[in-house]
Amino acid sequence: MPTVSASAVQLADSAWTDASIKLGNSVGAIAGFLGILLLIFFAAGRAGGRFTRPLAIAVMLGPAALLLVVGLVVPLVRTVYLSFSNDDSTRSVGGANYGWALTTDSIHQVLWNTLLWLVIAPLVATGLGLLLALLVDRMRGQAVYKSLLFMPMAISLVGASIIWKFVYDARDPAQPQIGLLSQIAISLGWHHPPNWILSHPLNNFLLMVVMVWVQTGFAMVVLSAAIKAIPDEITEAARLDGARGFRLFRHVTVPMIRTTLVVVLTTVMITTLKAFDIVRTMTGGNFGTQVLANEMYSQSFVQFNVGRGSALAVILFLAVTPLVAYNIVQLRKEREHR
């Protein structure tokens, strides 16, 4: 009998054993990782003479380079390769996927929408951010306003989209409204406001509002810092020369923060090109609001057409690359200023 109860306990405890084995495994893995690191550093420390420098470079740069190759370069090469293959990557189809992407009506709309997003959302977000930065600049208690304006940035894009989805919710005018926008429209005397999310092409802009709402705070904070960094002597001198208001802004402030403006604009643009969560959450790409990033996901993981998805990914990559390059150049310039 004792063996029986012991085994019963053992059976009941199997979940615990399972968990403790897993915990042991992770602790072991971490210990092993640290051990290897220590070993490398120790070996690097002991190495002397003309090996010191190359070895130090290898030790310091190696892991980052390796991760970059595994996490970025290999997938990139593979994606390009897959974009020339059929849906389940079993045979090559040449440029058929690119042909499809560039000649299909629905993808035309996707590309067009993406372009609209790319131009409008960053410009509006940066413009609004600049305006707010100027307005808030010399105000008392500006930290409070800035925090409030920056707050949407802390919400995930999915969270923000869900909030705005409720704002745009439409019901029959005879019914109680759930959506804020419809209720406001009705209160203002518009008897039959449209079903916002369904109204094409308006819905594209309504979706961009979410991106603008989230990104404006970021633009404002960065631009405000840049404005503050303008030396007072320059502004004083300009004032003495008779520059006021818009002239001061146009000829002194903007040139002084030009690089920052460009960095903010391109950063928001890159975020916008990857806009995926907003469209996915609010419309799922329906009603003519599809964008490139979401279509790529839908082709690869919903319709299981990896070839087409990869082709779209490559197109997206090609679109982002010049922006990223320009962004980096500007960032460098800005650092040189400092």
Binding site: D87, G285, Q303, N305
Partner: protein, 453 residues
């Protein structure tokens, strides 16, 4: 007290099994002959004798079923597990459909996957990792009507036995509201349309509610409506040909069925009670679509049996309660009892003896009965399950329709079509059909164009 006692009793054979398994682990790995070396199970465990001999082993299972539903699932095989000593380690994920292909092609396949779409099953079989079921499972499968076997098969080879079934051909309504207004549950499609017109002209509410919003899967309820009408108008053969694209969407039969749907769910006089106009169907989520029934704003909603979970807490679901459902009648009375439904299939990625034992057990009517007993909201189309076990009226209706040998049962068409159509263009185009008022001809042409060559 009783559970403790039972656990101890169960522990005895389990321990014996452990000891024996340890003693003859070499011989049992020879495969096949596990039963001869197995311990004799007694008492409550005696019925698991055919599955004995694999004590101390573990199998993994991966599916999209999440808690609390998965809790009932685990409860349903708890006794099997403790009697045979085979531990079933279950993992549920709401990202199952995209995770499974990644795991399988990454060489990290689970022992079992519960796959709800035949299309996904076919894709998994394509990877070459799905293992054909043992003879016991094949024999058990005969308790299901033959059409199910084709849904668990790929290119004529049977791979995965069905586990559960659900019924889509239901119409939810409020018995209280029907009684108050003197309406009767329609028996034929013509009756249903007459009743709809009657409700529409009475002016107190719209006859139908509808919503096809479902996040990234927006559009699927509309595909169900068309599938119901195709099946109910022309029967199983045309449906099968349509699903396999021998009949195109642009065929007059299918566009005709779409016209029937348009007269029904896109009729401004009929929809969309309590929410808005026809277009509002596109933006209303299917979860929200039924709420106006309780508010007395619309009378009926076509939705599957699983819609039961969407009713507000405290809603009485019964023949004289707040809501109930009737079987959607056939468009053409000549078609015998059309039932559209879905189901889940158990695919194995390993042929270890304990995996086969579990596979055999989960395909048996014993397991199905055990699952039915654990909680409601789950139906098997296995003929071996005693229908008196179902405690819930909706489950009873579904089980009766699904096991009716004369019924024309067909699986959800969009789940059978290639993903580029069934999970892609068809959803998109049907959404545009409702949201943007695109013509039936354009919708049909777009879907046909998306069919993989």
């Amino acid at each position: 007290m009783t559970t403790l006692l039972r656990r101890r009793l169960l522990a005895v054979p389990a321990v014996l099994g452990l000891a024996l398994a340890a003693a003859c682990s070499n011989s049992s790995s020879g495969g096949g002959g596990g039963a001869s070396a197995a311990a004799t199970l007694t008492g409550d465990c005696a019925k698991y004798q055919p599955y004995a001999g694999h004590s101390g082993t573990k199998v993994t299972m991966f599916a999209s079923i999440l808690s609390p539903e998965s809790d009932s699932l685990e409860k349903s095989w708890a006794e099997f597990s403790s009697c045979t000593g085979i531990k079933i380690s279950y993992e549920g994920s709401n990202d199952f459909e995209s995770q499974l292909p990644v795991r399988v092609s990454g060489g990290n396949a689970p022992d079992f996957a519960i796959i709800p779409q035949p299309g996904l099953l076919a894709q998994m079989v394509k990877t070459g990792k799905v293992v054909k079921p043992p003879a016991g499972t094949v024999a058990n499968e005969d308790k299901w009507s033959p059409v199910w076997k084709t849904y668990g098969s790929v290119n004529g080879t049977f791979y995965a036995a069905p586990m559960s079934a659900n019924m889509k051909s239901l119409v939810w309504y409020s018995p209280k509201a029907f009684k108050a207004a003197g309406y009767e549950v329609p028996k034929t499609w013509a009756d249903m349309m007459t009743l709809s017109t009657k409700i529409a002209t009475s002016g107190s509410m719209k006859p139908w509610c509808g919503g096809i919003g479902s996040g990234t899967a927006t559009g699927w309820p509309a595909t169900d409506w068309v599938e119901e009408v195709v099946l109910g108008s022309y029967g199983g053969d045309v449906y099968d040909q349509w699903v396999s694209h021998q009949i195109k969407f642009s065929d007059p039969k299918i566009t005709g069925a779409m016209k029937t749907v348009a007269d029904w769910m896109q009729n401004p006089a009929f929809v969309n009670g309590g929410i808005g106009d026809v277009k509002s169907i596109a933006t209303t989520t299917f979860q929200d679509a039924g709420a106006p029934i309780l508010a007395g704003k619309c009378a009926m909603l076509q939705q599957a049996s699983f819609y039961r979970a969407q009713w507000a807490k405290g809603t009485k679901i019964s023949a004289d309660g707040d809501v109930f459902a009737f079987h959607l009648p056939a468009v053409n009375p000549q078609v015998n009892n059309p039932v559209e439904g879905g189901g889940e299939f158990l695919a194995a990625f390993s042929s270890r003896p304990e995996v086969q034992a579990v596979q055999n057990y989960l395909s048996s009517s014993d397991w199905a009965s055990s699952r039915v007993k654990v909680s409601s909201g789950w139906v098997s189309a296995n003929q071996g399950v005693d229908k008196s076990l179902y405690t819930d009226p909706i489950d009873k209706i579904s089980a009766e329709a699904l096991t009716d040998p004369a019924a024309t049962f067909r699986f959800d068409g969009s789940d059978l079509m290639p993903a580029a159509v069934g999970a892609g263009q068809e959803w998109k185009s049907f959404t545009a059909w409702f949201a943007e008022g695109q013509s039936i001809q354009k919708v049909a042409a777009d879907i046909d164009a998306a069919w993989p060559q």
